[in-house]
Symmetry: C2
């Protein structure tokens, strides 16, 4: 009986550690979402003050990445998790990298905002930017939500959404190219907008990576590099 | 005695598995190096045939990523490695991601080469491209070599090299911007060169990540986000 109680106690502690690790990832995700939102608002408003705050706050995200990765290593070393517990630790360890890189992209977008704030105003592509940043921000939120609830159907939708973002990105890039060709005076500004746009596209790719980790975690199946058709059939299985 | 032999046998098998996993990573690294080299040669020669081969071969890299990650999971689940063995598995798992993304960047560079092959020739920035692609290719080779030999001093040099690549990237980007402003007809081509240049800069960043994993693996110390000064003092300790 005492042995059983001891084992239950140990397994309770282990579950608490896994929960804490996952919660730290979601906390990091919340901060990254906030950074991305502020970077976009600094870009649209050409607000260098807000942009500088984004750049400053990136360090906190970097520290969270290191801490969570250390947590993952510690759990692997001490608890030797198996099956879905092991997949959870590995999915968290891969997702911290993506979150940290979304943080980097937010910083890069903020730097473009600072550069743009020094140039005369031009806002020919504001509607496109609003569209894509809304879309990409939503993908990130859904990816984090699907991680929180282990919701595979939602994760698959995020992955399937990636193509739409790419199409929006290409269309916006074409608009920017036309702008430059029609007005050489716009080149300096447009180039900064191009970098910001590319940054948003990268954020969408990282959100997709996180969603793929959720599918791996729940299903035990690595869906990276899978074709949309195969993924869709995975979704059907899930809805049965 | 039999128990000892059994343990030795098991530990021999375990070491063989770790070696195989590391060798697979290095093989993947070799293929990625080759892809990057071919992507750059297709870009400089505006050779769409070679560019298409790069795009086609990317799938092989994606498959290697999945296989090596599965190998890592299997070792973690069955062998429950500790200390430096655990760090090796984690460093390999993080490095496959970076290698796969270098492969993606090679593909993106090759796509720009295809687009450029359809435009009238212009080669104002060829020397800058040669310089950076040589530099970045060298960083990748050194990072992989440092992984093969567990050579921390070399890994630290790769990390410290990242700033030089960034400076070269910024200078080349300024040249491209000047080209566009002086000749609106060059815009289409220059934009493709800008994407390729940004791709090279990203390759340098991924090579740096791999070198950081080598330092973590050998020293047990996570040096990501560390300042150059701190890293240099780590190098001094190493040379004592």
């Amino acid at each position: 009986m005492q042995g059983d109680q001891h084992r239950q106690h140990i397994s309770g502690q282990f579950n608490a550690e896994l929960d804490a690790m996952k919660n730290h990832l979601l906390e990091m995700g919340g901060l990254v979402e906030q950074q991305l939102g502020r970077a976009m608002s600094s870009l649209l408003a050409r607000d260098s003050g807000e942009a500088q705050e984004v750049v400053r706050a990136d360090q906190q995200i970097n520290e969270m990445e290191l801490q969570i990765d250390e947590e993952c290593s510690r759990i692997l070393a001490r608890r030797q998790p198996a099956a879905s517990d092991l997949r959870l630790v590995l999915a968290v360890a891969k997702s911290t990298t993506d979150l940290e890189r979304i943080g980097d992209e937010a910083t890069r977008i903020a730097r473009q905002a600072t550069k743009l704030s020094e140039l005369p105003p031009s806002s020919g592509t504001t509607p496109e930017f609003r569209l894509i940043s809304g879309h990409v921000g939503n993908m990130l939120r859904q990816a984090l939500d699907s991680f929180a609830r282990l919701d595979v159907a939602r994760a698959i939708e995020v992955v399937l959404d990636a193509d739409a973002v790419n199409a929006e990105h290409d269309a916006a890039m074409d608009s920017l190219l036309r702008l430059m060709k029609n007005d050489a005076g716009s080149i300096d500004g447009v180039v900064h907008e191009m970098w910001a746009l590319r940054g948003l596209e990268r954020v969408g790719a990282h959100a997709t990576n996180i969603a793929e980790q959720v599918i791996y975690l729940v299903r035990g199946r690595d869906v990276r590099h899978m074709k949309p058709g195969e993924l869709q059939s995975l979704l059907k299985v899930d809805k049965r």
